[in-house]
Symmetry: C2
Subunit: 480 residues, 2 copies
C-alpha cells in the first residue's frame, strides 16, 4: 500500500506560521502525541530516542566531571517547601498539590516536585557533617511538574523531563567554580552534540532562580529570531544551608555553612533542535542525537539482488558503529524519502539495480539536500564523512543565523526600528544595572533581558534607556 | 583519621533479627536514606548505581526483543482510571490524588500513576488503526506511586522505580507469546545478572493483576525462607481494548479488537539481591550489577612504590573493562576491608611492599571469603576468573538454599509440621483449583499460593485441602 507523498509532507510552511510549523513537526515526525491529561504529552519512541541520546551523552559528561546519580522522592511536604522564603514564593503558585492518599485526607499536603532543592537540602543535612563529607556532586534524571497555563510540546508543559544537578561544597569559591563548570558543560554539549551555538552569560537580578545568589544561562537563537533559554546553572551561596541547618566541621574544628549549586537542562532541548535546524520538509537532526543516523532505501527492491545488497550495506554500517535502518517495506521510494526527510534522518542511502551494476550508491544529506555518488568500497568512510559534514554544516548555518540576527543598538529608538525592519533577533545594548530600566526596555521595545554575556563589548558608555553610566552589555530578545 | 572497624561492621546478625539485619544493610551500605516524605526514600549513589546497572542490562534485553521506550504523563484523570472496571477497583484505594494546581482546585482530580495501562490504552486508541500499525512494543522507565500503609526500603514503598512494558498485538496468540517471552527475559536476567534462581509460573485467579486475564510471575526464595515476587507479566486479552475503544482494521477489512500485555520489574530487585546473597558482614553483590567490581587496597601505602603500583593495577583493570576503584584514603586497611565488605564489592585486591617484592597481589572474594595469591602478570585474567567464580558460586549457593528449603507436602498437617520443624520455605502441594481451598490453606497453615509453576509434578492425585481431584501443583509460601 504505497502512501501519497503529500500525506507525509503536508506541514505548514515556517514562513507562513512558525508556531503551526513547529506543532506540525512535533506530530508528523512522531515525536509527541497529545493526551487527555491537560498540558502533558506522550513522548513517542522517536522523540524519546532523541532524549535517550541526549541523556547518554550528558550523563557521560557529568560522570567525567565527578558527579553521581541519585533519586529523591517526587513529593515535597508543604512545610519542607516553605523552609527557604524566596524559593517557596517562586514555586508555590505553580505546583500540583497531592491532598489525598487512597480515601484518606493527608495530614499535610505535599506538592509534586517542581524542582528538588528542598529535598536535596534535607538529605545533605542528614549526611554532611565534616569537611571530609564534602563535596557531594549529585544529579538526578527525573520529571518535574509546574502548573503552566499555556503549554506547547517540549517548550512548556506541565510535566517535563530533565536532569537536576545539586552540589554542596566546603567553600564559596568551589561552588562558584562548579556553577561555571556546568554551564560550560552545557554549552559544549549544545555545540558538539546539538550543533547549536549558544551565548553564555549571567541572568539579571529580576530573572534569577528563586533562592539563588546568581543564575547563569545559555541562550540560543531560533529560526524565527526568538531566544530560547537552553540550560541554567545556579549559585546559592549558603542561603539554603542556613535555611535547612546544614553545617559541617572544618579542619580547624569550627562549624561552618557549606555552599551549594544546582543546574539543569530539560526536554526543551528537543524543541530547540527543532527550531534551530528544522525546515519546511520537517525535522533536521544533528547526527550525534539522531535515533537513526543513516536510512537505507532500496530502489526497485523487487528486482533480484537489490534487497540482498541493501542488507549487506546495512550490516556494514552497523558494524562501523552507525545507528542505521533499512526500510524494506512496500511503500514507494518517494514516500520513504519524504518520511525520513520529515523525521530528519541525517543521511539517506539509495541503492538500486543500476547502482549495484556500477558498484556504487547515492548518499543524500538531509541538512543541505546534496546528493553524492559513492563507491561501495568507500561506504563506511563516506557515510562518516557525510555525518561529520552535516554536523559542521548545521553548526555553521545556525551560527550564521545567530550572527546575522544579532544587532547592536545604542538608543531605544534604534531597538524599535531594528526590530521593525529586521524582525526578531538578539539586540545587544548597554544597561546601567537598574531594574527600572530593564522593565522600561521591555515595555517600550518588547524585548526582555536574556543575559549579561561573559564576552562583554563596550558599545557605548551609557545605558540605552536612562543615559546614566552603563555597567554591562546585555543581550535582549523575545523569548520562548 | 583511621576509623574503628567496629563502626562499620556493627549490623544486627541475620539470625537474631532478619528484618533489622536487612534495614541495617540498606543504611550502612549507603543504599538508601530516609526522608520526611512518609514511605518514600532517597536512593543514594551506591544504591542508584546498582539500579543503573539493572536498567542498562534489562534495557538492552528489551531492545533486542524489539521494544522501544516511550514516556507517558505521570497523572491519570479520574475518568480515565475508571474506564476498566476491575482495574479501577484494584488500584483506586491506593492512589495519591492531585486536587489542586497552584491555587486553583482542579475540575477533575487526577491520580499519580500507580501503573499506566489506562494511559497506554488511550494512546493506542489514538495511533492504532490498521493491522499495519501492529504490534506496538513499548516500555517506559519511570516511578509509580501506591499509597501503602507499611513500607520498607526497596520492598514496599509509596514511590518506587520500575519499568513497565505495554504491548498491543493483532492476535491473542501473539500477545500470550509476548507475555511468556518477557517472563523468560526476567528469569534469564535474574539468573545471569543477579545470580538469583527463580521459579516461573502462573498466578492463581485470586492473585491476578487488576484487569488481567492471566498473570505470570517469577518467585525467588530469600535467606529467611520467605518468597519474593521478583517480576510479573500480564496477558489482558481484549478487555482493555474493549473498554478503551481500541479497534483496528484487519487484512480482510474487518474491525477487530487487538490483544494486550504488560510486564514490570521494580527496585524491589535490589531488596531481593540483599536478601538472597547478603551475610552478617553486609551486602554481597553479583558482579554483573556491582557498581564497583574490584576494589584495590594498598597496604602500608606510605611506603615507597606502593601507591604507584596500586595505580598501575587500577589502570590495567580499568583498561580490561572492569568497574574498579582504588581506595588511597588515609583510613586503615582494616577499616577499608570492612567498608567494602559491607558494600558487597565482589573482589578486593591487596597490594603491599612484600607483594610488590614478590611480583604478586592478594585477591579476596567477598562471597566466600577466600584469598588467593596471584602473580601480577596474570592480574586481569585472575580478576575476571574470580568474578566469574563469584557469579557461579553465588548462584549455586542460592539455588542450594532454595532447593533445601522446598518441601513437598501431601496433607495440611504435613505443611504445618514442616513449617514448624524446618522454618519458612517453599511448600509444594497439590490444589483442586478452588479459591475456597486456597484461602483455607492460607488460614490454617499461614502460607499463600505463590504460583502454579510451569514445571509441574504429580505429588498426589488429590487437593491437599479438600481431597477432591487435584488440578495443579502449587508453590506456597510466606511472601514479602
Amino acid at each position: 500500500m504505497a502512501k501519497d507523498k503529500k500525506m507525509v509532507t503536508a506541514i505548514t510552511s515556517m514562513d507562513e506560521d512558525f508556531a503551526q510549523w513547529y506543532t506540525d513537526i512535533c506530530k508528523k515526525a512522531e515525536l509527541v502525541e497529545y493526551t487527555s491529561v491537560k498540558g502533558c504529552m506522550v513522548i513517542r519512541p522517536y522523540g524519546y530516542a532523541v532524549w535517550e541520546n541526549i541523556q547518554r551523552i550528558l550523563d557521560k559528561m557529568f560522570k567525567e566531571t565527578g558527579h553521581e546519580n541519585v533519586c529523591m522522592p517526587m513529593f515535597i511536604p508543604e512545610s519542607l517547601l516553605q523552609k527557604e522564603k524566596d524559593h517557596v514564593e517562586g514555586f508555590a503558585p505553580e505546583v500540583a498539590w497531592v491532598t489525598h492518599g487512597g480515601n484518606e485526607k493527608l495530614e499535610e499536603r505535599m506538592c509534586v516536585r517542581p524542582t528538588s532543592e528542598t529535598l536535596f537540602c534535607e538529605h545533605y543535612a542528614n549526611i554532611v557533617h565534616s569537611y571530609r563529607d564534602l563535596p557531594k556532586l549529585y544529579n538526578q534524571w527525573v520529571s518535574v511538574v509546574r502548573w503552566e497555563k499555556t503549554t506547547r510540546p517540549f517548550l512548556r508543559s506541565r510535566e517535563f523531563l530533565w536532569q537536576e544537578g545539586h552540589t554542596i561544597h566546603a567553600t564559596a569559591e568551589e561552588a562558584v567554580e562548579e556553577t561555571e563548570r556546568m554551564l560550560n558543560v552545557y554549552a559544549q554539549f549544545c555545540e558538539d552534540a546539538l550543533a547549536m551555538p549558544v551565548v553564555k552569560g549571567k541572568k539579571t537580578e529580576s530573572d534569577k532562580f528563586a533562592g539563588a545568589v546568581s543564575t547563569y544561562a545559555i541562550e540560543a537563537l531560533m529560526h524565527d529570531g526568538k531566544a530560547l533559554q537552553a540550560g541554567t546553572s545556579h549559585y546559592f551561596g549558603d542561603g539554603f544551608a542556613k535555611a535547612f541547618d546544614i553545617e559541617y566541621t572544618d579542619k580547624e574544628n569550627k562549624r561552618v555553612f557549606p555552599h551549594q549549586t544546582s543546574w539543569g537542562v530539560t526536554t526543551r532541548l528537543i524543541g530547540a533542535v527543532i527550531m534551530t535546524h528544522g525546515d519546511n520538509n520537517g525535522l533536521v537532526l544533528p547526527p550525534a542525537v539522531a535515533p537513526v543516523q543513516a536510512v537505507i532505501i532500496p530502489v526497485a527492491q523487487h528486482k533480484e539482488g537489490v534487497l540482498e545488497k541493501a542488507n549487506e550495506l546495512y550490516s556494514r554500517l552497523k558494524a562501523a558503529g552507525l545507528r542505521v535502518k533499512l526500510d524494506d517495506t512496500d511503500n514507494s521510494p518517494g514516500w520513504k524519502f519524504a518520511e525520513y526527510e520529515m523525521k530528519g534522518v541525517p543521511i539517506r542511502i539509495e541503492i538500486g539495480p543500476k547502482d549495484i551494476e556500477a558498484d556504487q550508491c547515492v548518499i543524500a544529506s538531509r541538512w543541505n539536500g546534496e546528493k553524492s555518488v559513492v563507491s561501495l568500497g568507500e561506504l563506511e568512510s563516506a557515510a562518516e564523512k557525510k555525518l561529520q559534514e552535516a554536523h559542521d554544516g548545521m553548526y555553521a548555518k545556525a551560527l550564521a543565523n545567530q550572527e546575522n540576527r544579532t544587532y547592536a543598538c545604542t538608543t531605544m529608538d534604534e531597538i524599535v526600528k531594528t526590530l521593525e525592519e529586521k524582525g526578531d533577533g538578539f539586540i545587544k545594548a548597554m544597561w546601567c544595572g537598574e531594574e527600572a530600566c530593564e522593565d522600561e526596555v521591555k515595555e517600550k521595545t518588547g524585548v526582555g533581558s536574556r543575559c549579561i554575556p561573559f564576552e562583554q563589548e563596550m558599545l557605548s558608555d551609557v545605558c540605552v534607556c536612562c543615559g546614566k553610566p552603563a555597567k554591562h552589555m546585555v543581550y535582549w530578545g523575545k523569548a520562548y
